[in-house]
Structure formats: C-alpha cells, structure tokens
C-alpha cells in the first residue's frame, strides 16, 4: 500500500537536506534519460503533435494534407454520431466505473468483515478470486467469450434461459439496436467487477479491526459501520479505482470491436471506435485526428480534476 500511495504522487519537494558532496541538480545523471528521451520523442511527443496538426487538415492519408483550420472541430460539434458516441461513453463509465465501484465496495466490505469473520479468511479469498477471474483475461478475449455466449443462433445464454423456463426472454442480445448497448454494459460490469473488490480488500487490511468491533459494541448496524468506517477508511482506494476505471471506459475499444463493431448501426459506437473508423475505414484522417485529440483532452482533464480533488481531500 505504501508503494501505491507514493506512486500516485510524485516525490515532490523531497529535497536532500544538506549537500552530501554530490553536484547539485545531479549534473551527470541526465545521460541516463537520453535513451528514453529519444524514444519518447519518436513514439509519443512527435506523433501526438502530428495528430494535433493533422486535426486541422483534410487528409485521406495519401498526398498532401490540406489546411482547413478549425473546420473539423466545427463539424464535430454538429455531428450527431459524435455526440451519440459520447453518450455511449458515459453509459460505459457507468458500467465500468460507477457500478463496479459501488458494488465492489459492498462486496469487499461484506467479504472482509462478514464472510471473512463468520466463515473464515479462506472462504473470503476464494470468493474474491472468483470475482477477480474475468479481470485476468485480455479484454478482447472477454469479448470473444461473450460473443459466443450471446450468439443468437447457438449462444449459451438463450439456451440457458430456455432451460430454466424463461425462453420468452431470449433475445438477439447484440443484434438488437435497443439492447446492444445494455448488453455491452452488462459484459463490462462482469469484466470489471473484480478489480475494485481486490483493491478495496487490500485497502481494508489497513483498517484496525478493533474499530469495527468497537462500533459493534456500540450497537452500530452493518450498514452504519459500512458508511462510517469502511468508506472513509478506504477513500484513497476509491479515488484510484474511480479514476482508473473512468479512464479505461473513455478509452474502451477492444470489447466494442469484438462484440459489435460499433453496431448495429451506431448503437454502440464510442469515440475511440469512431476515430478508428475515420482513420482506417473512411480515410478521413483529419476528422479522425480531431476526434482523437478531443478524447485525449477529455482524458487529461478528467485525470487532472481527479488528482486535484484527491489532493484537496488530504
């Protein structure tokens, strides 16, 4: 936990008190940054700047880009597909960040101070492992698993419903435009849930169990203890989980590509997939770059806001 806490904040202001004979500012150490500087420039900085510049042009990917100023951005503001894709992104933030955090919090607390106490730590960690297992999959493989489960002609889910007498509920889960987004959201909850459970349970190790028992002696119900002890105690973990999951939801691409390719129609399109379409399918490189730039700005701003709030909390 100590490593995590320090990792979320750079070691700022940690000066060495009293010069120890080493040159101030660490003169000769710059050379160790040189290999990264070169690679970084080539892989991150230059491409990012190129992307920003391209977003001001019309370009098919071949020939010379034509400068069109802010036209791509003006077009974005009017583009219904773009706005729809962002609404889908918000839905995925709910599915990948909000729901897993809330449910994960309750599950972690229940495993820690209920199951762990009455049925042993082993039971608790076995259950935790079961919740976590989907997280070990590459997200594309999770998509393959569910693509098979949800297949309208041979998928297991519809069969399962029929077997338990709910055959009337069988649907073309990913092929029905009204259902596809909800289905993708459900798959993402399945995929994401274990992560907050594990992080929160690790955070709870820090909490003095005496606190709970003292509260219990005072007659506090499980829910009261949950609200007044568990939640405040693992606030740092709450921030980290919400931040990382929100960013993951904003960046989501793999599951959309594998499960629906943004369809049916545009029912599950998201900004990252929309930019991919513009780059590699529609040869609208300038427009794709504008979408990607907006996405990058949003993600950086969200990160910055989270870190600011977290800073103020301390």
């Amino acid at each position: 936990m100590a490593a995590q806490a320090s990792a979320t904040r750079p070691p700022k202001g940690a000066r060495t008190p009293g010069s120890t004979g080493r040159p101030r500012g660490g003169g000769g150490y710059w050379i160790y940054l040189a290999p990264s500087a070169v690679l970084f420039l080539a892989v991150v900085i230059v491409p990012f700047l190129m992307n920003v510049v391209t977003s001001f042009t019309r370009w098919t990917g071949v020939g010379t880009p034509r400068w069109i100023g802010l036209d791509n951005y003006a077009r974005l503001l009017r583009d219904e597909i773009f706005w729809t894709s962002f609404r889908h992104n918000v839905a995925l933030i709910v599915a990948m960040a909000v729901v897993p955090t809330v449910v994960g919090l309750v599950l972690a607390a229940a495993l820690f101070d209920y199951i762990g106490r009455w049925f042993g730590a082993r039971t608790a960690s076995a259950l935790r492992a079961a919740y976590y297992l989907p997280q070990v999959l590459p997200v594309a493989v999770a998509g393959v698993v569910w693509g098979w489960m949800l297949n309208p002609s041979f998928g297991a889910l519809n069969q399962l419903l029929e077997t338990v007498g709910l055959g009337s509920l069988a649907r073309d889960w990913l092929g029905d435009p009204d259902l596809a987004l909800a289905t993708v959201m459900a798959v993402m909850v399945w995929f994401q849930l274990g992560y907050p459970v594990v992080i929160f349970m690790a955070g709870l190790q820090r909490v003095d169990p005496g606190l709970y028992e003292a509260a219990e002696i005072d007659g506090a119900s499980w829910w009261r203890r949950f609200w007044h002890i568990t939640v405040p105690q693992i606030r740092p973990e709450l921030f980290v989980v919400l931040l990382t999951c929100t960013i993951a939801a904003l960046k989501v691409f793999g599951p959309i590509f594998v499960l629906t390719r943004g369809g049916p129609g545009r029912a599950t399109n998201v900004p990252s997939y929309f930019s991919y379409q513009n780059f590699f399918q529609k040869a609208n490189v300038g427009y794709g770059s504008a979408i990607a730039t907006v996405l990058a700005v949003i993600i950086v701003v969200v990160t910055f806001l989270f870190l600011r709030v977290q800073e103020r909390e301390r």
Binding site: A3, Q4, S6, A7, R9, P10, P11, K12, G21, G25, G26, G28, Y29, Y32, P35, S36, A42, V44, P47, F48, N51, T54, L107, W118, A126, A130, Y131, P134, V136, L137, P138, A140, V141, V144, W146, W148, M149, N151, A156, L160, T163, W190, V198, I199, P209, G210, E213, I217, T244, K251, F253, L259, S275, Y276, F279, G288, T293, L295, A296, I299
Partner: protein
Amino acid sequence: MTSLSVRRAASARRARRERREHGRVTGAGPGRWAVLAAMALLAVAMLLPFALVTLNALKSPADYSSNGPLGLPHGVHLDGIVQFWQRVDFGEKLLNSLVISGSVAVLAVILSVLNAYALGIGRVRGRLWVLVLFLLANTLPQEALVYPLYYLAKAAGLYDSRLAVIIIFTVIQAAFGTYLLAAVLGGFPKAIIEAAAMDGASRWRILWWIVVPISRPTLSVLLIFFFIWTWNEFFLPLIFLISNDNQTVPVVLGVLQGEKMMDATMSSASALLGIVPAVAFFLIFQRTLTRGITVGAVK
C-alpha cells in the same frame, strides 16, 4: 477518535483473541448463511462463462447440436480445439505474443530503471516536469498517437512488424514504470550509494551492482505487469500486425470472433485458447500479482 473508543477497540481486540482461542465462532445464524449463499451465487454467475466455454470446447459439433450448450460433453472431444489451432496456426500466435510481451517487459524495465536512476537517485533538475510528462504519456489514449505512428512506421519500413509493436509498447510501459520506480528509488538509502561512491565506484557500476540488485522485488513486479499488460493489448497490435504471421493471441481471436466459418464448438474452442494462457499467467504469478495489483492500480 476518542480515547474511549480506543479503549473499546483494545478490549474488543482482546475479546476477539479470546473468542479465537475458543475455536470457530459459533452461531452463524440463517441470516449469515443467506449472505454467504448470495455471495456464492454471484461467484457462480461470474465463473459460469468460463465453465460453459470449457465444457463446450470439448464437445463434438454433433453433440452440441443435439444436446445444446448446457449438457455435459459425451467424452472429451478435442477436434474443435485442434482444428482451430491448425487453422490459425495458434502456436505461431502464442510465440508472437510471447516474443512481443517478453521483449517489451525486459526493455521497458531497463528503460524505467535508467530513468528512475536519474530522477529518483540523481535528482536531476526539472525532474518534476519530466515525471509529469511521463504521467501525461501514460494517460494519453492510444487513439491520439495511432495514425502518426502508423504513418511513421510505414515510412521507416517497420509497419506490420513485431519490432514496431515492441518499440511502441516499450515506451508506453516505461512511462508508467518510470513514474512508479522514481518514487521507489527516491527512498533509496543514500548512505549505501555514498559509501560505494567513496570506494570509487562509478555511477554506472553503482546502478548495476547496488541499486538494481537491491530493488529486485519491485523490478520483478514491474516485469510481470509489463508482460501481462502487453499480452493483453489489442488496439495497437490490431492496427500494426495485419499479416497473419505477425498477429498476437488477442488480435487473432478478436478478429475471428463472429466469422462465418466459426461454428459453435470452434468458437468456444477459440475462447478457451484465449482464456488458458491468461489464467495460466495468473496462477503462475499469483503471489507477485496480489502483492503488486495495488501498485498497478495507478495504471
């Protein structure tokens, strides 16, 4: 916290110790069993897709069409797996994934160590800005880099090569690794380094003979994380590895999902082939991972 509740906490701790000495707490009432049952049911629901995929990957197509996905397989039928394996040359895909993820893990750890040495121990001027830059790089979506990278890789003759993917992910993972390691090395005991410097060891020697061996536990966590994260990547490998011979496991599975040629058993076989390596890594590295997942939380 009031002193009263401190005292209560202490007495509660004592009570708990006594209770433990009396053996397992008795009287788990029906309410407790209901909670356990609900949690267990959720666990079953979470694991159900894994079980169904495994079950059906072992069926023959005829068995599947007559008994559906829920029946137990009549005997172990490996045809679906074998056919899928041969059709996509899955061994080659595994090798590609191993080569790419392994190289990235090693190279990114080396880069992270070099950077963190300068930032955490060397405390070079402006290190805060360098760290902010690395953090920014770590949060940028790959979508905002992909087209220029694609264009540059084509110009450099590296498009559709594993090398391009290795270089890109080395930098992306090292951005995170630097951020983490710089914080860890910032707390490295100065006395050791000064003693070594006094004995005439060069900075290069101090790095490889003192800093790296002492930081080994952190470095191994990073190595494993980089390996698994790279293994799991989909977006950039999808774009950079277009020819079959270069594709990684997630890419080949993701691209083929929903293809017409994939029948029910072969689809589940392909899902199983994606699950097995991931779960295997998890089991092999479980200890290191559970120690490090909270470290990885920053990503």
